[in-house]
Amino acid sequence: MLLFLGSYFAGMLGTVIGLGGGVILVPLLTHVFAVDIHQAVAMSLISILMTSIAGSVQFLKQEIVDLDNAMFLASATVIGAILGVQIGQSIPAAFLSMLFGLVLLLMAFLMIYKKKSTAVDQKKYPRAAYVVMIFSGALSAILGIGAGAFKVLAMDQLLRMPLKKSTATSNLMIGMTASSSALYFIAQRKFQSEMMMPLMIGVLAGALTGSRLVKHLPEKYLRVLFVIVVTFIGLQMIGKAK
């Protein structure tokens, strides 16, 4: 029950701040439920699949997913995910925790200094976007997060896609990326079966609540909440990296 409530909260908060559940699930599993960080990464990735698929349903209904770009860029994130799985499993837990914290602090920094795409330079850089997607896929598999922030940033800045479209496309790609690394983790049994149901159902229910809640919250407060939550978790993870 505690796990269900915890993952419900993680899913809700993750959706409200626009990051999905992974960023909160991994620290929740490692700090509160004393799960090994490598297992937490795997369990988080499998749960992300649920939220990504549920989110994609809404975006597909609204017809705002760019399927051509999703297919093209997902091939890059899958390359990254396969590399990431190999790298992530050989990284010591303390270093992984430190890396997780640093990535979160980078996300908070990017949110504070986020620039809107300029109308002057409308040139597209598909090759650069492809490279960023490989990096984003690897990060997703190493840390157990969707890494949607990096995907959206690349589509926004390098492919000049509108924010709503890039968010929807990124959401579909998160599922494709997570599934390739999740297949590996499932085959290796890197999860605790008895925890999976409350975790997945909880994070899914939380994400659905969060998506309704987010419509009523002003963007300014969401940004402040994002920076506070992400910075706090980032520092916690760095502090615990012993």
Binding site: S52, E63, M176, S179, S180, A182, L204
Partner: protein, 83 residues
């Protein structure tokens, strides 16, 4: 049109997975990996459907992307990444 079809397909599968997860958790926990495999393969079935649609549209980039993904996954799982 494919978007509407895909969203219905995903909703149906999510409901089935949700029910299977609950049943497995309470009655047959050892079957959990099979349900998780089902969930993990689901996005790839979506990719295949998009691919089928785009082949009809003769989109070469889509064909390249799918071939890359399938090739990578096969080499990853057969070529030792699995073990």
């Amino acid at each position: 049109m494919i978007e509407k079809r895909l969203s219905k397909y995903l909703v149906l599968n999510l409901i089935v997975i949700g029910v299977l997860l609950v049943v497995c958790h309470f009655f047959s926990i050892e079957k959990m990996p099979s349900i998780l495999y089902y969930l993990a393969i689901l996005p790839f079935t979506v990719v295949v459907q998009i691919f089928y649609y785009q082949v009809k549209e003769k989109n070469r980039i889509a064909i390249f992307s799918l071939m890359t993904m399938i090739g990578l996954l096969i080499s990853f799982f057969i070529g030792g990444g699995h073990g």
